[in-house]
Subunit: 395 residues, 2 copies
């Protein structure tokens, strides 16, 4: 854990923070090795402390940092002053960056009351920046998940029949990935976002717009679960989008393949080819130093050149404005391949890149791979063969 | 939707709020009928407005309230002043209650900047109070989910064999519930809480303490997913806790049964009997007017009388201090059967009541049913037969 803490310490110092306070389960796991409930204080200099509410015993067994009982939450400021006197030297009110992008406001306000002696700031950017660069062992875990996803995809593709529902295909994928140790969900940082094993969606149901922060949401089961697979039967000749993810030991792969029973019509087939072409072009630019926003701009340019700008990454008012996203412990990590992300890529960044085209009433086609940036380029972590999967009719 | 909005209007008025602002997906669905991303303003008097970011088209199709584009988030205060001049009459800065128990602090702070003309307050208590009383149609949906859970349990109980892993049994349950339309997760309001289809855990793995806010967490797959089913093989003679949930069309059932291959030893068997006895006693008190905390106190008393206080609802420092919880669109709804919840029960409240006993190194036994409070008592929504399930050996 130490190297991770050191990287956070360097980054917080550059941002003018005296310490970071981690409150979210995924952050706690990343910096301590344990995901129990509590607060992890990482000072800009010195040793971290994991203040645990529950289960202390389990946290002590798992954590790689100093682990102690939280004690009284209301006296948390006093606890910090006792344990970190140097932070409060000369009557200073230290600037402490917390993960305010996920911490509920109610807890934030209570924390302000419990620790009036610290100045709580938004530290989420420094945390996300540090986590965006993965170690070799993190990348290896994503590759393990990639193999499980590929095996599940193979199994599902062999079982798809005309008239099966999207949900039935999704259930095959879920069951198979669980066999490999999929934890059952793909963790997502964004508020109100939910995703378990991705989505299977075909034809018009795939093209239905959604609140989900991705290029294709899917119809879902009901307005109370308005994304991912529906109970609509899959028909021949319509694009079947298999956008699936698998999370093993905390790390998630995200990948998409398009299939069809029989043949796609010319327009959708061509759009699928454009999605592969965009992916090839972006791959050719994928290396340390490339700016995420320039990759998005290039993809937009190619989509426009192909006359498909209105269909790219969703349709019309429901388009999303990105081409891909960082992925690791969460599927909406940094950087995003979108405007505003100009920080050059560096080795260790892992990205899911997903050019897709939406045709209302007809479906979504596209492809998605997960990549690790290497010293001189990239490595593809997704192992599923890349093609439009033409499935046989089974009478 | 109108009755729900009216109940919230009455409750917010009594709490001194001029309006409520709903930001969370489940709240948006409850009060508008649609779960797209955006903000729902419900004034203490007058018509609600759903300001939608994405997908507006889908929200318009689903929502039962006035639905408009969100427009510029930064000008949200101006939008409210334009649409609700009466809220701002005489230069008043209206008190607006938002769901601060779930809204991330970062968004809360941005909302304060975007709408400096309103005083943002914590409105989560009034929202949770209104949602705690279910309509007949909500209860009917929970019953639908209960039937699916019972069918899945039957299937899984028939397939459990010595040496199968907890995860294998969990996967059978998940697959079967998905066939019935389980959305794939049990929604939970609490920060950092994750649960998909509940848990299957046996023997020592079930008794491992956990961050999870329930009496039994389970070992889980790895420290990165430290609760629910593990890959430990299930042995004969050990308690198998099947604490499962199913969410259909947004509404969730939560239930627990205990099984064993062969026989439990006398101490665990007796503890299981005490859990049933506690449930019977609590049922005898379950009616409008009963106070949630008194039900918890009575359960504690019976556990103590049986000499099992140290094992009740977890063990030692890892005990949780409640007996049950409200359930509906989320599984951690109000009221909680715990100290501090003195508001008398009323007809329509739905509760999952789950007396359980934890024996470190040996397992967890217990039972859980979901109940609806009726005009003169209660109705049990869980349909699975109540008993210690003794499963045959299969050589």
């Amino acid at each position: 854990m130490t190297e991770r803490c050191r990287r956070l310490q360097r980054t917080m110092t550059a941002s003018g923070l005296h310490a970071c306070l981690i409150t979210q389960n995924v952050g706690l796991y990343y910096w301590s090795g344990s995901m129990q409930s509590g607060y992890l204080l990482i000072p800009a200099e010195g040793e971290s402390t994991y203040y645990v509410r529950r289960s202390l015993n389990r946290a002590i067994g798992e954590s790689g940092v100093k682990t102690v009982p939280l004690g009284s939450f209301r006296a948390f400021g006093d606890t910090l002053a006792r344990d970190y006197p140097e932070l409060f030297a000369d009557g200073r009110r230290p600037r402490v960056g917390a993960d305010l992008d996920v911490l509920p406001a109610q807890t934030y306000l209570r924390l302000q009351e419990a620790a009036p002696n610290v100045e709580l700031r938004d530290g989420s950017a420094v945390m996300r920046q540090v986590r965006s660069v993965k170690s070799a062992s993190e990348i290896a875990l994503i590759e393990t998940a990639a193999k499980a996803a590929a095996a599940a995809l193979d199994l599902a593709l062999g079982r798809i029949r005309e008239g099966m529902t999207e949900l039935e295909v999704m259930t095959i994928l879920e069951g198979e990935m669980r066999r490999y140790g999929h934890i059952g969900l793909m963790r997502m940082r964004g508020y109100n976002q939910e995703i378990m094993t991705g989505m299977v969606a075909a034809g018009e149901a795939a093209a239905e717009p959604s609140y989900f922060d991705g290029p294709a949401g899917g119809r879902g089961l009901t307005p109370a679960a308005p994304q991912s697979a529906s109970r609509r039967p899959i028909g021949a000749g319509e694009p079947i989008l298999l956008d699936i993810g698998c999370c093993i030991d905390g790390y998630t792969i995200d990948q998409t393949r398009t299939a069809v029973i029989g043949e796609l019509d010319d327009e959708l087939s061509r759009a699928y080819d454009v999605s592969e072409r965009i992916l090839r072009r972006v791959e050719s630019l994928l290396r340390p130093g490339a700016s995420p926003e320039s990759l998005y701009a290039e993809a937009l340019r190619l989509a426009d050149e192909a006359g498909l700008a209105a269909h790219f990454m969703g349709f019309g008012a429901d388009q999303v404005r990105f081409l891909g996203h960082g992925i690791g412990l969460e599927i909406d990590e940094w950087p995003v391949l979108a405007r505003g992300f100009s920080e050059p890529l560096e080795a260790g960044v892992v990205l899911a890149i997903e050019p897709k085209f939406t045709f209302p009433g007809r479906g979504v086609v596209g492809i998605e791979n997960t990549y690790a940036i290497t010293a001189d380029g990239y490595r593809t972590l997704t192992t599923s063969p890349e093609r439009l999967y033409r499935l046989p009719f089974h009478p």
